[in-house]
């Protein structure tokens, strides 16, 4: 594993080898391991050591980007030459030719780095898998899941004076427990993430998933339609991840693709969502991929669309400057909020259900995708714990529903939010810390009642 000082030295070597007027170097280092289990045994167990250099050169508005994972002198020379060659033959594009400048703010270069996570071995992960499997077996359930530990290093230097290196660790454990693969089979779920592997309580996660799986036995059908819902934190985090992807980006706003209209009420007044890459209660990433320190950004403030996130290019065009949310260049997706926080409410989590006369309890969603980004209409399936709520209590497990729902519309009727929050690592990127929610209405548009045959 390469230390921060060594990364800083490498970045200087790359900058020194470039003769372009402006150069940016991004180092991405990854030392990751993942133990995967299914049907009660470990079936995949992998480790990866990789590091890459990405060079962006700007010459009179012409931009070229090249990347390599060869870090020796020959590799450095080659990647710098390829980036310069592309820039030399490119057409000028002032929109993309923006490298950030230092803003004087500093970051903790090891915020979220825990040595025991970095040192975690295959045996530790296997023991975690065994604990989960044991909890499932005690309830007659088959466990699948993954236990991962990783060290990520991000380093950036540019000719404007940006110098930033940060490394952090991640540990994540998730499990799905099932009693078969047929329609109506029981299934339960649990997930946890932390910078510190010692905080991952495999046994507790196993018990959570096993309890849910046990309660899901004998799931039955319910007519789809509009229902009040309790969304567990896993479900809320899934929706937030997609809101970030389609709506919280400065580029999406600039291009008219976002549901965000600054200053306009888009959700209920109890809803506040912000992004903060330096909050240690999340999975911190205090610098972005342009080396800018991430600013906290209030995205939704008391239901009002307040701000979006920016990288150097969108920040320059919006005349706000970068908020420190760049992805690696060149970036067609735009900036991204990766460290989401939704404000908690005042209701103890266990008491949320008491406010529901008739509704549906959703543990998590599966395969969410945007149907209409500008209206933030998403579709997806419920999974691993869907129940009917009657008179303030769970009365029976349900077959999974498909939903098709505008999220801002759903978040406009938040009846209650739990006062506790949970950190949920993103399915594809980032993480969200959020409460469980009681929503007044959610549109379920289909149900998987029977597979049948053709």
């Amino acid at each position: 594993m390469v230390g921060n000082a060594e990364v800083a030295g490498l970045l200087e070597r790359v900058l020194a080898s470039s003769s372009s007027p402006q150069t940016e170097v991004l180092y991405l280092g990854q030392d990751s391991a993942l133990t995967r289990f299914a049907t009660n045994y470990i079936h995949q167990n992998v480790r990866e050591h990789d590091a890459s250099l990405q060079v962006r050169v700007v010459d009179d508005g012409r931009v070229g980007v090249a990347a390599t994972n060869r870090l020796d002198d020959g590799g450095i020379r080659d990647v710098v030459e390829r980036a310069a060659a592309i820039a030399a033959r490119s057409a000028p594009n002032v929109r993309a030719a923006v490298l950030p400048e230092p803003d004087g703010r500093e970051h903790d270069p090891e915020l979220g780095y825990v040595a025991s996570t970095a040192d975690a071995g295959a045996e530790l992960r296997a023991e975690g898998a065994r604990a989960v499997i044991a909890a499932g077996e005690a309830n007659g359930l088959q466990s699948s899941g993954s236990f991962s530990t990783s060290v990520m290093t991000v380093g950036v230097a540019n000719t404007h004076g940006i110098r930033a290196v940060h490394r952090s660790t991640r540990a994540a454990l998730l499990t799905v427990m099932m009693d078969g693969f047929a329609s109506g089979a029981a299934s339960g779920y649990a997930q946890a993430g932390s910078t510190d592997v010692a905080e991952i309580d495999a046994e507790a996660l196993g018990l959570e998933a096993a309890r849910k799986g046990d309660e899901m036995r004998g799931a039955g059908e319910l007519e789809p339609g509009e229902y009040e819902v309790i969304l567990e934190e896993y479900a809320v985090a899934g929706l937030l991840e997609y809101l970030s992807y389609i709506g919280f980006s400065g580029l999406a706003l600039e291009e008219g693709r976002s549901f965000m209209e600054p200053g306009k009420r888009v959700m209920g007044e109890t809803v506040s969502i912000h992004d903060d890459g330096s909050d240690p209660s999340g999975l911190p990433s205090p610098i972005d991929f342009e080396g800018v320190v991430r600013q906290p950004v209030d995205l939704i403030a008391n239901g009002v669309a307040n701000a979006v996130v920016h990288d150097a290019a969108t920040g320059a065009r919006a005349e706000t400057g970068s908020t420190g949310h760049a992805l690696p260049a060149p970036n067609l997706v735009g900036p991204m909020a990766l460290n989401l926080f939704m404000d908690p409410g005042f209701t103890p989590r266990d008491e949320l259900i008491a406010g529901v006369e008739r509704g549906i309890w959703v543990t998590r969603f599966h395969y969410i995708n945007p149907v209409h980004p500008k209206k933030a209409i998403l579709t997806g399936m419920t999974k691993d714990g869907t129940f009917l709520i009657e008179h303030g209590r769970l009365t029976r497990p349900l077959l999974n529903f498909r939903f098709t729902q505008s999220v801002p519309e759903a978040f406009s009727d938040v009846r209650a939010a739990s006062r506790e929050t949970k950190l949920v690592p993103g399915e594809f990127f980032g993480a969200a810390r959020c409460p469980a929610l009681h929503l007044g209405s959610f549109n379920f548009t289909g149900v998987t009642a029977s597979e049948g045959g053709a």
């Binding site: 049907t39 990789d50 295959a122 699948s144 291009e255 995708n369 149907v371 289909g446």
Partner: protein, 482 residues
């Protein structure tokens, strides 16, 4: 490289591995995007490294490194062995592989024109001309034209004696126009959404696309969609264009026939499958018109190669025959469990990933319904949908919902009103059971799909789907509140 491979094999064997695979790979990519008349992205990436997968007492271990120094082979092999021993702490039984024979061979993607030898100037000219074509249409907020190229050189070696060298070359591109107003965002793409068309082959594939020729009509359609009425809701006959049929095949046939999903080993992420092995040879998956093959030998397919990443030769095998389930996508580990030998679909995204069961080219054979216009003329009332913009399917691959870029109402055999935001939903076997017509070979295209995600850590898969427009009866369309 040979020294590294031999050293890795030797170190693994000395450390107690009963079976070892070594893959050394280098992937080059080039991606160019012109957006609103300017070169928005131009990248050249190279990634190289090697991975070692070992079986120790029937338990898997894998490790990988970007360092190609021969001495690194000893360290990585040791790490793979250590991981395999940890896997044995939660082992059900020893992994047993099929008896696929070792192979010594080479394979290279046939192509006429090396895409990496074509000048950047020529490529930019293609993109700028396409952009200019879209710019002729007023009302377009975002114009994007892209080209992408890839080349992977990889060597596979196993302790059983295989030595295989391959070079896979890919090329493709597309254009997309986006029109926006206060409440709507509408897109139209050519020749397909999500990056266009990508194939295994050379730069000749880009010339064949003729992006500029289709630019203006693509932009005009995006603008027209802004003011089109919303897709109606209800049950009606549905005709899908070949791009959407291709994605339907991908999600509802390709994924559920992956035998690792069937056995539950993807349950925690991608999901499982309703096509359990008790249904093999018995389940009516679709109507008698439905014949679907997994063909890794199809010329130009994005899922075409010489050998998979377990060293098994590319093959063409049926999955659905006359509507009946007859086959699966398999690996050397899973195939013996249904009494078969691997059909060669274990593929790894890179040197740092293990092979998983991935699609190759999953192709719906063409039918006899003639051209698309013939099929529309044969449809009294219904809706025609074209080019995907949204997809979702449940973990068992039964309950799906797709949204397309454009729809047209069919009245008395004629394509009439354009509608926006068309969606449809269904349950896989019922949906394929409702198929009653497929257009002929002249409408059949082998589409490349370069963004298939699976596995933990997530791997990207490059796969292909051959399809022609097809008609499905009584499908629920226009889902949700608008």
């Amino acid at each position: 490289m040979n020294e590294l491979i031999e050293r890795a094999l030797d170190a693994a064997e000395r450390g107690g591995a009963g079976y070892t695979e070594v893959r050394v790979a280098e992937r080059e990519t080039e991606q160019l995007t012109v957006k609103n008349g300017a070169l928005e992205a131009a990248t050249s990436n190279v990634s190289a490294g090697f991975g070692i997968r070992v079986l120790v007492n029937g338990a898997w271990g894998f490790s990988s490194s970007r360092s190609l120094e021969p001495a690194e082979a000893d360290r990585v092999a040791g790490e793979a062995l250590e991981i395999a021993r940890a896997s044995a702490l939660a082992q059900k039984g020893p992994v047993e592989l099929d008896d696929s024979p070792p192979v010594t061979d080479t394979y290279r993607t046939p192509h006429d024109e090396d895409p990496f030898a074509v000048s950047l100037d020529d490529k930019l000219r293609v993109l700028m001309e396409a952009d200019a074509g879209m710019a002729r249409v007023s009302g377009i907020a975002i114009r994007e034209s892209n080209l992408s190229f890839g080349r992977e050189r990889k060597t596979f070696a196993s302790s059983a004696g295989s030595r295989i060298e391959q070079e896979i070359v890919e090329a493709g591109g597309g254009i997309e126009a986006t029109a926006v107003n206060d409440s709507e965002m509408q897109q139209r793409s050519y020749p397909n959404s999500f990056g266009g068309q990508v194939v295994t082959g050379g730069y000749e594939a880009v010339r064949h696309l003729d992006l500029a020729e289709h630019a203006q009509e693509t932009a005009e359609m995006a603008v027209a969609l802004l003011d089109a009425p919303q897709c109606p809701s209800g049950e009606m006959d549905l005709i899908l264009d070949s791009t959407q049929v291709a994605l339907q095949v991908h999600e509802s046939c390709g994924h559920p026939t992956e035998l690792d999903r069937v056995f539950g080993t993807e349950a925690s992420f991608a999901g499982t499958s309703f096509l359990t092995t008790d249904k093999l040879g018995h389940l009516r998956y679709g109507s008698e018109h439905v014949h679907i093959d997994a063909d890794a030998t199809a010329p130009g397919g994005l899922g075409t190669f010489g050998y998979d990443d377990e060293g098994v030769a590319a093959q063409n095998v049926p999955l659905i025959e006359g509507g009946m389930l007859v086959g699966y996508l398999t690996s050397r580990e899973t195939a013996p469990r249904i009494g078969r030998r691997s059909m060669g679909s274990a593929r790894a995204w890179s040197w740092s990933h293990i092979p998983l069961i991935r699609m190759t080219n999953i192709n719906l054979r063409p039918g006899d319904a003639g051209s698309l216009e013939d099929l529309i003329a044969d449809t009294r009332d219904g809706i025609f949908m074209s080019q995907n913009k949204s997809w979702s399917i449940d973990d068992r691959r039964l309950n799906f919902q797709f949204g397309d870029q454009a729809g047209w109402i069919i009245k008395n055999g004629k394509r009439t009103q354009l509608v926006r935001n068309p969606t449809y939903t269904g349950i896989t076997p019922q949906f394929w059971g409702s198929l009653d017509a497929i257009c002929g070979p002249e409408e059949w295209t082998l589409w490349g799909l370069p963004n298939c995600g699976k596995g933990e850590p997530m791997q990207v898969g490059h796969v292909g789907h051959g399809a022609a427009p097809a008609r499905f009866r009584n499908v629920k369309v226009g889902v949700g509140r608008w």
